[in-house]
């Protein structure tokens, strides 16, 4: 679900970058980048199933 939301957010950022104001596009971009990094850190904190 979070990945669909991130793809949707990127789509919105692109549409705003093409049609909207640059300030809003940059702000939405920053929010989306931070959200994707947060998603990565959430998954990176999972316990790894390693066999050694």
């Amino acid at each position: 679900m979070e990945f669909s939301a991130l793809f949707l957010a990127v789509t919105v950022v692109m549409v705003v970058a093409w049609w909207g104001t640059r300030t809003l596009a940059l702000a939405l971009f920053a929010a989306t980048l931070l959200a994707s990094i947060a998603t990565y850190l959430h998954h990176a904190s999972d316990v790894l199933k390693l066999s050694f």
Binding site: M1, E2, F3, S4, L6, F7, L8, V10, T11, V13, M14, V15, A17, W18, R22, A25, L26, F29, T32, L33, S36, I37, T39, Y40, H43, A44, D46, L48, L50, F52
Partner: protein, 183 residues
């Protein structure tokens, strides 16, 4: 490098991003290789690489717009590195199939590294940042690139929703959650 050439290269950059998204879709739909959560994050970063070129095409080239894509490429390279390291142990067959000897996440790392080098190279040419006061509306070639990459990203919203459903995406997805038939 003239402003016009820089804008053409930005449009070509968008087509390159679109090509990566098409290849990812081809692997998913033709080979039935469903992307894992880390794979999806790398795909998201590839799509986000397009934001800088779109801003350049809309408002004219600026170093800050190249910086937008640089941040994205660095994040994408970090995500790909994490997945490479998850499968670094001898005997580990890696996730998914290999293409020309490398797994998709290794290709993703190479792609993000190439993007970082290309963006840094573009920043070397100051001439493109001189505003001559003449508005330069995007041509059909650039407009088509923008809409192609927006359409492919929107398609990813649908495919990811079908794959993961409304819950957490499985670590090793083998079927589309929303297409599973109720028992």
């Amino acid at each position: 490098m003239t402003r016009s050439l820089a804008l053409t290269l930005n449009a070509l950059g968008l087509y390159a991003v679109a090509l990566v998204l098409v290849i990812a879709f081809a692997a998913q739909l033709l080979l039935n290789e469903l992307p894992c959560p880390l794979c999806l994050l790398q795909r998201i970063q590839f799509a986000m690489l397009a934001v800088g070129p779109i801003l350049n095409l809309r408002f004219g080239p600026r170093p800050s717009y190249y910086a937008v894509s640089l941040f994205t490429a660095i994040a994408g390279a970090a995500f790909a590195t994490r997945q490479i390291l998850l499968h670094i142990m001898p005997g580990d067959l890696g996730y998914g199939s290999a293409l020309l000897g490398y797994h998709y996440y290794t290709w993703a790392f190479i792609g993000f590294a190439v993007a970082i080098i290309a963006l840094a190279a573009m920043l070397l040419f100051d001439e493109q940042f001189r505003d001559d006061g003449k508005p330069q509306p995007a041509g059909a070639f650039a407009r088509a690139a923008v809409w192609l990459v927006i359409a492919l990203t929107a398609l990813n919203v649908v495919s990811t929703l079908l794959e993961c459903g409304f819950g957490a995406c499985p670590d090793n997805p083998v079927a589309y959650e929303l297409l599973k038939r109720a028992p």
